[in-house]
């Protein structure tokens, strides 16, 4: 499809701005010629053509509203419309981030109350809403751990990370200058305790553990894991990307974790926006509170909310202002909508749906770990390989059936992984439809592998030439 730049018609009528009611500045006297822009090379497109262009582009995209989106570890649940309406209220859109506390009582209340709810849901002593995404929360968490040990004058330089972890974990740990040490998984898909014990020492910060892990499995040995880490004075970090199945059922703060990051755009229903914005709150236990980013939102006895910039040991700021407020309003609205019962139902049904898929697909696809799973299960293309059909082919064929593909080739410890996360907001009939499609694809792989290998066939485009894109990068439009 043509780009917006190709649709530009210089001179076309576009937007109208009000006439100036003040004397116009003399640019030449304020900006030296060498510093002036001579040409503003932006497209000139009439309004209706702008609307049609981006409407057409939207039609070449696919979201939760368009169909089932079983993308593993991403928790693509229904994004309630009411959340959007609330975040768009003028009372929330207009306040300036540097508004006086007195003028921003509503905004501060949302921050404060959401922090209380998230503390209760996760079992931690404090929650900070500043980070803008999951990985941003992870980095903040790693910085908090660094600050904690610096304050104790302990030099710790290594971070333990399971081989099944999200890539963001080692990358976040590198951001703090820690060396990432990979810990093996055991035959059951959990942490190899021996390997963990071998590597955990007094030069090690701790362990970044996703629980349930990226195989969708709850770490049964969590108590032992916590003990190994804490015995050596380390900290146990929870990557809370997979918090959804635990909602109202169990709390990481009770399980021995010292801190967590949450992904409001996963477990708490805020839309993912085609790649963001998200929000990555961090929850910590008491010993890490002195280091959390400022400002800290507090409430006086008389109910007045205010921002406290005073903590001296704080790591500082990880972004300009207090948080992705719009996203925070949506998560607040979501929690108020569900309440305690609804949260538990969400957690339970996300696990019910995942296990239903696990059992139904087991005869047709190789299941990497045959155990009860939490919110997702991981299959592979092992059974289809003999027909020369790969995970990628299966994923692309699913697009033809009107579904988004699962997460593929992750976690890396499962060769050809197909990671399926249905979430609780999908109905049985939707899930049955998906299961039928998966079974059909398994059948096609056997009977007509070419059909699967050439997929997708009814998308706006066929498979793309990624090699050309990477060898000869074209990253912007040039006339």
């Amino acid at each position: 499809m043509k780009t917006i730049f190709e649709k530009s018609v210089p001179g076309q009528s576009t937007v109208q701005l009000p006439k100036s009611d003040v004397p116009e500045i003399k640019i030449n006297s304020l900006i030296p010629s060498a510093y002036q822009r001579k040409k503003l090379n932006l497209p000139v497109v009439s309004k209706i053509n702008v609307v049609r262009h981006y409407t057409k582009l939207s039609q070449r995209n696919f979201g939760v509203d368009q169909g089932f989106y079983p993308l593993g570890s991403c928790t693509m649940k229904y994004n309630p419309r009411i959340n959007e309406d609330m975040a768009a209220l003028p009372g929330f859109c207009y306040p300036h981030p540097l508004a006086d506390d007195k003028d921003a009582q509503g905004g501060l209340e949302i921050y404060y109350e959401l922090e209380q709810y998230l503390k209760e849901i996760t079992g931690f002593d404090a929650v900070v809403l500043q980070p803008a995404a999951g990985a941003h929360g992870e980095a903040t968490g790693a910085m908090l751990m660094k600050a904690y040990f610096e304050n104790r004058k302990e030099k710790r330089t290594k971070m333990l990370i399971p081989d099944a972890a999200h890539g963001t974990n080692p990358a976040s740990s590198s951001l703090c200058g820690f060396e990432s040490i990979t810990i093996k998984s055991n035959a059951e898909g959990g942490i190899d305790l021996k390997d963990l014990e071998k590597h955990m020492d007094k030069e090690t910060v701790g362990l970044m553990l996703t629980n349930p892990n990226t195989l969708g499995l709850f770490e049964r040995n969590i108590k032992k894991v916590a003990k190994i880490i804490h015995k050596k004075g380390g900290l146990l970090y929870c990557d809370g990307a997979n918090m959804n199945p635990m909602l109202g059922v169990t709390r990481p703060g009770d399980q021995g974790f010292d801190l967590i990051q949450l992904n409001l755009h996963k477990s708490f229903s805020t839309p993912h926006g085609g790649g963001g914005p998200g929000s990555g709150p961090v929850g910590v236990n008491k010993k890490l509170i002195p280091f959390i980013p400022t400002p800290i939102i507090k409430k006086r006895k008389n109910g007045f909310y205010y921002r406290d910039y005073s903590p001296q040991k704080s790591i500082g700021k990880v972004r300009a202002f207090m948080g992705n407020f719009g996203v925070i309003v949506k998560a607040y609205t979501y929690i108020r909508s569900l309440g305690s019962n609804g949260l538990r139902r969400a957690g339970q049904h996300s696990v019910l749906n995942a296990n239903y898929i696990r059992v139904k697909l087991m005869p047709h696809y190789h299941l990497a770990y045959n155990r009860i799973c939490m919110h997702e299960s991981v299959f592979s293309d092992k059974k289809q390989q003999k027909y020369d059909v790969s995970t990628l082919d299966i994923a692309k064929r699913l697009l033809d059936y009107g579904y988004h593909a699962p997460t593929i080739y992750f976690p890396m410890i499962v060769h050809g992984a197909i990671m399926i996360e249905p979430n609780e907001t999908e109905s049985k009939s939707t899930i049955d439809g998906f299961i039928d499609a998966m079974i059909q694809i398994a059948k096609e792989s056997k009977e007509n592998p070419e059909l699967v290998k050439s997929a997708p066939n009814n998308m706006p485009i066929t498979r793309v030439n990624e090699l050309k894109a990477a060898r000869d990068p074209n990253l912007k439009w040039e006339e």
């Binding site: 780009t3 730049f5 701005l17 009000p18 100036s20 003040v22 116009e24 500045i25 002036q36 822009r37 932006l42 070449r60 939760v64 368009q66 693509m76 229904y78 009411i82 959007e84 609330m86 209220l89 859109c93 306040p95 300036h96 981030p97 540097l98 508004a99 009582q105 999951g134 990358a171 976040s172 049964r220 969590i222 109202g248 993912h272 926006g273 790649g275 963001g276 914005p277 500082g316 700021k317 972004r319 300009a320 202002f321 948080g323 309003v329 019962n341 696990v351 019910l352 239903y356 009860i372 907001t425 997708p456 485009i461 498979r463 793309v464 030439n465 050309k468 990477a470 990068p473 990253l475």
Partner: protein, 442 residues
């Protein structure tokens, strides 16, 4: 109200298929002692009707100022209606990151167009798909500069937004990068100071333009000094409407240009979500953090877009990635793109209007006794005034339902009783005359 559609009957059927009898048995892997015995202390769920009333009542506790002169990294500009309507197309906003290219051409092409817009405005070769916000983008640029130059020190101008400075400080501390501060004189960087402070240990020099005080830095002259020492020049643009009038920083010698796109179609919303951008030169293509979308073709030779050069990113390169960023601010980037596509060359008018209004206000405030304009150098749409008592000025305005500028005392001790005012095309002469009138009455 929850969003679980399953009926009791369906629930039973599914449990039976799995071979268990109750929802609780799904959690047998969780040690018993960790299973919650009680309900969470969270208020009972609300119906949509109750919810809407409840949340609206909280929103109503925020004071909405029809007239505001507060900027400092969050700017009120006119937002054409189409921006909201188009970004709220659910095909965009309920989608995840465009990993399945064939089903995500809409978002991929949008990002490609966004990258192009950012390149055109900044004068750089390539731009990424967005960052969280301007401050974190600047912090990432600082780290990128240290990696390119292989030097562990940066020079940070005090004319950079203080919250941005703080963010850079947090990131650099974590990464063991030393920060040296670059002072200013008359509200801009003095080239003499810069010459003294850039050494062959300096990896990157971080400046902002227009700077936090509203004034223009001499980027071209700065770039020469920075490059002479083999350092990287990072220019931060947090009021990007200024780029409609200013020569692109890339054409003046910047190596990395970052900033915040909030001015382009995103409401100030109490601080977020906004959208950071980052652009650089081709030779640093493998050093830039974040996603990149490239144009290529499908198996039938048709134009297609795809995430590319992903080997730099965390999901492949893990601990050696250029950054840990994954989720960025895609939907806000889309808003920026649609804003720019809608405004086109009219962006120049936005910039001219904003600048003209700020100058009108500054000139007339300067005439008020007990108020003096701090900026001795040309400025864009923000300026600092020195007043006798900043608190009383702000409260006088507040009484008249006007939100005055930012009190700089809390950021810079030397700027006690200094206010940073901002004006944009939104502000009318009437509003400004009112401010002048109120402050003229002593």
């Amino acid at each position: 109200m929850d969003f679980v559609p399953a009926s009791k009957k369906e629930e039973k059927e599914m449990l039976k298929t799995i071979g268990i009898s109750s929802l609780n048995s799904l959690f047998k892997d969780v040690p018993k002692e960790f299973l919650l015995k009680k309900d969470l202390k969270i208020p009972k769920g609300l119906s949509e009707l109750e919810l809407s009333k409840k949340v609206s009542s909280i929103a109503a506790k925020n004071k909405i100022y029809e007239t505001s002169f507060r900027g400092a990294g969050a700017y009120r500009h006119f937002i054409p209606s189409v921006v909201h309507h188009l970004t709220m197309r659910s095909e965009f906003y309920t989608a995840y990151t465009p990993y399945q290219a064939e089903r995500s051409q809409g978002m991929l092409q949008s990002i490609y167009e966004f990258q192009t817009m950012i390149c055109r405005l900044t004068g750089m070769d390539l731009a990424n798909a967005s960052m969280y916000d301007g401050a974190s983008a600047l912090a990432e640029a600082a780290l990128m500069a240290t990696r390119i130059s292989d030097r562990k020190e940066i020079l940070l101008s005090e004319t950079v937004h203080p919250d941005y400075q703080k963010t850079v400080g947090t990131y650099c501390h974590a990464n063991s990068v030393k920060i040296n501060k670059l002072p200013s004189k008359n509200g801009i960087i003095e080239l003499k100071d810069l010459k003294k402070l850039v050494t062959d240990k300096t990896g990157g020099v971080l400046i902002q333009n227009p700077n936090f005080f509203g004034s223009f830095e001499k980027i071209k002259e700065i770039a020469k000094i920075v490059h002479d020492k083999g350092a990287i020049l990072v220019v931060s643009v947090i009021e990007p409407t200024s780029l409609a009038l200013l020569k692109a920083p890339g054409k003046l010698g910047a190596d990395i240009v970052v900033g915040d796109g909030q001015s382009f179609g995103i409401p100030v919303s109490f601080g977020g979500p906004y959208v950071g951008f980052m652009a650089t030169k081709t030779k640093y293509i493998r050093r830039i953090p974040g996603r990149l979308v490239g144009m290529t073709e499908d198996t039938k030779g048709r134009r297609a877009f795809v995430l590319t050069l992903q080997a730099r990113e965390q999901h492949i390169r893990r601990e050696k990635a250029t950054s840990n960023i994954c989720t960025n601010s895609a939907l806000c980037a889309l808003a920026v793109l649609i804003y720019l596509a809608t405004m086109g060359d009219k962006l120049k008018e936005v910039a001219k209007l904003s600048m003209s209004k700020a100058h009108y206000l500054a000139k007339n405030l300067n005439k008020v006794s007990e108020i003096s304009l701090f900026n001795k150098k040309p400025f864009y749409n923000e300026f600092i005034i020195k007043v006798k008592n900043s608190k009383s000025v702000l409260s006088k305005l507040k009484k008249n339902n006007i939100e005055g500028g930012v009190d700089l005392g809390k950021y810079y001790p030397k700027f006690k009783d200094h206010l940073l005012f901002c004006a944009t095309e939104i502000n009318t002469r009437e509003e400004m005359d009112k401010v002048i009138k109120i402050l003229s009455r002593s």
